[in-house]
Symmetry: C3
Subunit: 330 residues, 3 copies
């Protein structure tokens, strides 16, 4: 999916020739091919620039439909038609370098915010240009609603909340100090060490979502971060970039979900559960408080412990261990 | 204890008949019985509406003095005088549905805040109507003090703090971004999934309390959340709704106390200690950093680990386990 | 190192006689010796007041160059020249009592902030007197920049950030709700229980540092808290007072570093890692997610678990334990 023009503005279209010149590389194919947006590789279309930094074996099964794709010069291109490729040393870094120069925030200079007459915006709150606030929605003291942000009906946005690069459904509750749409924790290697990368995705909170006080939902890198309908998230939680939280999910305090995690519908998480990057939690699974989840969990199962394991194994292990020690105590 | 009228305003008194009609039920007893407030069942008086969602065996020993009590229609009422009861399918949900329609925030429209002449309120801070700020208290930049909030003398309220539905003693320190009095994490089941419930309690911080940066003290559901005299709470801590923290308690960073917990006087908690719902920690107990407490802890004991156990057992277990593995290493 | 006059203002110089009188003690040596600032004992010079609350054996190897040092009256002074000493019962408490009366915030009343013409300060942000904002730096909505704070070039300060008692380098990114320079979690014993102590140090963020949303970097007690060049810290992290984080360190979400910790260059920490007070983490060490570190870790090693141990031991232990339980399952 290309980037949302409500939040990000692109400079002039880039040709393969332009990009190759900036990178000091040469395109494998057509110099005149032109891109106007960016995308994740899986979802890129003919007008999009993307990058591929997977392994050779992923490459072989990868069908790239992007207008232009940056790939590692260590990759054996094999039978891929090279027309839309530029090889370079670190595609991810090159890609974000290009983005930094090419993409800026959409300022919405000439579009005042559209605040419904029935909305109640506290006198100290700030709603930016291009933002829209729906019927009966309340915006609390010192809340900041960023440019282009869309907020639905009957929402409660509490004090000191910040919302940027986000689309918010109806009946959403954001408690005080919630941070919606900040950059994720993404770095790329450069000659001078790790460099923070700008994020071009969005944070999507569907209808009926609650986010607790001082919790953070980062926006996606290029894709979106999504919290599904009616999911309830407690205080001081963290939802990383590109993570998809399903519907009717409950996450208690300090739930920490890393980036690119998939959480199925109806999952219930006790307090202080951590989930590693790229892990998938099946529908209806339950995670006991204090779990540290390092791998995928099948639907409907209950897991516990760190590293997390099925809850019965965890109980058995905990009990067995206590017994061993007790029997040696005397 | 009924709800504090400084924070919540009730609509017209409700009769048993009104309530039964709204729920599509019929009262077991007197249709004309009238309530003007709400309460937890244990503390309800003759003017209060409450709900009971305990088990049959709890019911049998429960003495309800409420004006009106919603109870499950699966309950065998037994020998209870039915005069003050309405049976319904999910009392908790019905109760909060009624409350949502009946209770609103007290707006204090005609009562400007009472700020002592010696108080120092930053030019960017906002003190709402009906609030009171004591002598020499400092209110920092962008702090928000909600309607009806009372703050004592010699307090330091730092930048971006929000305080709502709260009573704050003397010499209290709230560091930047602390969130006092937000809703707790309470949901009730409805036909369309979990529904967030509004909270009608308060957050009480007694004299000499410190709350660290970005920490959260949720207000109670109907009762209060209380932090006792001189207790010191570090950054990024979470105190759940209805929890009572005693006096002279020390809680290091990331201390996460769930709802309805009792923490005795003089308890000391290392960093990142979690405590489950409804647990009791005895006076003077100590919890080692990283403990996950799932059950009550007697006074004066030191516990560690997750799930937490007495610290000597935990040391023994840790050491024994290390030895087992070491002896198999070679 | 004495305290930075950009942030703290001292009353009139104090003589040993003044101090002894206030404490109800008598100086061991010269009554006319004068101090104008405070310092940690190791770094104190001839104009500084400090306190020593170490043990007798530490005292014997301690060379105090302070103008005046408060020491316990239980200490055997031995061969130390007593000229610069005052003995008292609880030196730490007496020291901070004196400081509270002697030191106040520097108000910079007559120095408007120095904001570079190319800086972009949001209309709702507040930059205090005596602060300086460098070229092209952006200050977001409702951000608060405290008196005397220095911020370099090309920084991005997001919404609702507070920065106090801090020096910030170039290219620093502070995400929404970050808290820089609040008091640490320090208490001293008094007759009426634990008393919060004011902090007189600074928070230093070097060039290229990123701090995530709602993360906290406390300022030092007297020394500084430092985050080194190019280190990247995720959301909801906590860096305690007096802690030194090296260069190119990566700390994932919920990284919780207690006070007076040393973290070497290039250390990488997974999510939810906790580190106890006064621990040292060697250069290039790696800490697996969920580690709880209670002791020093040598350079280059990878540790895991809580309490943390070398990662291979942890894997071995985890696997062995799982096997024991599995073999007993059937």
């Amino acid at each position: 999916m290309p980037v949302d023009p409500r939040f990000y503005r692109f400079g002039d279209p880039l040709t393969a020739g332009d990009i190759a010149r900036r990178l000091g590389e040469k395109p494998a194919g057509d110099y005149s091919c032109t891109v106007t947006n960016i995308s994740e590789p899986q979802e890129a279309g003919p007008n999009d620039l993307c990058f591929f930094d997977g392994k050779q074996r992923d490459w072989e099964t990868f069908e790239c439909r992007a207008g232009l794709c940056l790939v590692s010069n260590e990759l054996d291109l094999g039978t891929h038609a090279p027309d839309n490729l530029i090889q370079t040393s670190v595609p991810r870094t090159s890609f974000f370098d290009l983005c930094h120069a090419w993409i800026s925030e959409e300022a919405h200079k000439d579009t005042p915010p559209a605040i419904h007459a029935s909305a109640d915006v506290h006198e100290t709150a700030f709603v930016s240009n291009g933002a829209a606030i729906g019927e009966r929605t309340r915006i609390g003291p010192y809340a900041f609603i960023g440019p282009g942000v869309q907020i639905g009906r009957d929402c409660e946005i509490s004090a000191h909340v910040s919302v940027r690069y986000a689309l918010i459904g109806d009946r959403v509750r954001l408690q005080a100090g919630a941070r919606i749409g900040e950059d994720g924790f993404g770095v790329v290697p450069t000659a001078s060490g790790a460099m923070h990368v700008a994020h071009y995705g969005r944070a999507i909170l569907q209808d009926g979502v609650s986010i607790g006080a001082n919790s953070c939902v980062d926006r996606g890198l290029i894709q979106d971060t999504v919290v599904g309908e009616n999911s309830k998230i407690d205080n001081l939680c963290h939802i990383g970039h590109n993570t998809i939280v399903g519907r009717n999910v409950l996450i208690a305090a300090y739930g920490g979900i890393s980036g690119s995690v998939m959480i199925g519908d109806g999952v219930m998480m006790g307090g202080r559960v951590g989930i590693a990057d790229h892990v998938s939690i099946g529908e209806g699974a339950r995670l006991v408080a204090d779990s540290g989840v390092m791998k995928d969990i099948p639907p409907g199962q209950t897991w516990a412990g760190s590293p997390a394991q099925p809850v019965l194994d965890w109980h058995r292990q905990t009990a067995w261990l206590a017994k061993q020690v007790r029997s040696r105590r005397g």
